[in-house]
């Protein structure tokens, strides 16, 4: 089995598991139990992890709020910022985002229409990038919040955050960045991006599922209304007993990402180039979706000339990859054409012939060679089964 779906999720790094396990058993204290040693030890472990996550994005530890994942972080950021602004009598209602955002962002923004906010969904170019003048035009009207993803989860394109963030701040709006796919894969700096809010997820950077974080700028203070009521954990922004083992794991994943992300990216870039070259040689008419250079290392989103992606996958049972975001696969198992691919101008038919490949930290050179062989064979029409 060859795993090529690292945008859906990544395996936990064994070093992450090792760091996490003691916090389930011998060191099980509640980080809120500051009256005894076991609790204080857990609280210290949480603060160490918070520091690792903060350093990955150039933030201060006090600016990191742990959540259950990027979906919750996106909800807390977008709904929390909008509702806070409304609660202090801010008259602005406009919330701007991109057509290619993850559903956790798009649906937050459109759901807020029901609370009197005005969603504005901007188009992107054929290359998947937001043109600065399109954003500038949208910002001519008073805007409360802009949400732009750092790296797209399907086509892997990297938005120019420093350029776009400067426009957002010039317009006086708050700036949220969904960095779930970017953290650990590309360098991120909250100051350079001018971001007020940044969503992170552990399981996209070799940590466990079920833990994420939201960066909340402290100076100038970014204020949010919490989604949940409860104890005062996480500055009251995210009450609930802290999942210490998961937090320790995310901290270790962030520490490793900062230490090794650059080397990982170099290797993944070479592997993706190799895979693309092999496939192009074997499959005439193959096209790469999204900007060819401004993309995260290890991502290839490919449109095949003849066969539907679901048929290619059926003919390659030894490969784990997907036709589009796993997050938009419907409950009944049906897969609609990707909203990201149609937003960059692909026809529904072309979108259905497209595959998302995400190489990762544990992808080997042999995996790449074997995957190319399997995919090349499976993408030819009339092939029953090409993979063992």
């Amino acid at each position: 089995m060859i795993y090529l779906d690292n945008h859906a999720t990544t395996p936990c790094d064994p070093r992450v598991i090792e760091a996490m396990l003691p916090w389930f058993t011998t060191r099980f204290g509640n980080a809120g139990s500051v009256e005894h040693a076991l609790g204080r030890e857990a609280a210290e472990a949480v603060e160490t992890a918070r520091g690792h996550v903060a350093r990955l994005i150039g933030a201060a530890a006090t600016e990191i709020v742990f959540t259950s994942g990027a979906t919750e972080s996106n909800n807390l950021a977008i709904k929390g910022a909008a509702r806070f602004a409304q609660s202090v009598g801010d008259g602005r209602r406009r919330i701007v985002t991109l057509a290619t955002e993850h559903h956790a962002v798009l649906d937050c923004v459109t759901d807020l229409a029901g609370e009197g906010f005005e969603p504005v969904i901007l188009p992107v170019g054929r290359d998947g990038l937001l043109a600065p003048d399109v954003l500038a035009e949208a910002l001519r009207l008073p805007t409360l919040l802009v949400s732009i993803m750092a790296v797209n989860n399907e086509i892997g394109v990297i938005q120019d955050l420093p350029l776009l963030g400067a426009l957002v701040k010039e317009a006086g709006a708050a700036f949220h960045v969904d960095a779930a796919q970017a953290a650990g894969r590309v360098p991120l700096d909250v100051s350079a991006a001018r971001a007020d809010l940044v969503s992170l997820s552990a399981h996209k950077m070799y940590g466990p599922k079920g833990i994420g974080a939201l960066y909340v700028r402290r100076r100038p203070r970014m204020r949010l209304l919490p989604l949940l009521s409860g104890g005062g954990q996480e500055r009251g922004l995210r009450p609930g007993t802290l999942p210490v083992p998961m937090i320790v794991a995310m901290g270790e994943a962030a520490r490793l990402a900062l230490a090794e992300g650059g080397a990982d990216a170099e290797r993944l870039g070479r592997q993706a180039d190799r895979l693309l070259a092999l496939l192009r040689a074997a499959v005439p008419g193959l096209t790469l979706n999204g900007h060819a250079e401004r993309r995260v290392a290890g991502n290839l989103n490919l449109t095949f000339p003849q066969r539907a992606a679901v048929d290619i996958l059926q003919a390659s049972p030894g490969l784990c990859l997907s036709t589009s975001s796993a997050c938009t696969t419907s409950a009944d198992g049906g897969v609609g054409p990707s909203h990201v691919l149609t937003a960059i101008g692909l026809s529904p038919a072309e979108a259905r012939r497209s595959l998302r490949i995400g190489l990762g930290r544990f992808t080997s050179g042999q995996d790449v060679e074997a995957a190319a062989t399997h995919l090349a064979a499976a993408s030819q029409p009339q092939v029953a089964s090409a993979a063992e």
Partner: protein, 109 residues
């Protein structure tokens, strides 16, 4: 002596003497204005939360991180909210106008 005005919860304006060097909280207490100040100005609660008149807000020294932390917990926060204990009267603040918020919440819990 400088003067300042408290806008009470029922909308009444009360202009009072504001001696130099006293905080807005101390001025309130001196004149029996209903501003709690549970921690007595030690930056451990948000019960002396006041809403600064928009004209005056940018003339104040910006809040410290610690004051912002306490404001995070204040009830009925507004865009020009501050803690009364952190605003010290000087000549430049002669004429300052602050409003008492609708309610308070003691962050000391």
């Amino acid at each position: 002596m400088p003067k300042m005005t408290f806008v009470e919860r029922d909308g009444t304006h009360r202009e009072v003497d504001a001696p130099l060097g006293l905080s807005v909280l101390e001025v309130a207490h001196k004149h029996g204005v209903d501003l709690e100040g549970a921690c007595e100005g030690s930056l451990a609660c948000s019960t002396c939360h006041v809403v600064i008149d928009a004209e005056w807000f940018n003339k104040l020294t910006p809040p410290t991180e610690d004051e912002e932390d306490m404001l995070d917990l204040a009830f009925g926060l507004e865009e020009t909210s501050r803690l009364g204990c952190q605003i010290v009267i000087d000549e430049a603040l002669d004429g300052l106008v602050v409003k008492l918020p609708a309610g308070t919440r003691n962050a000391q819990g």
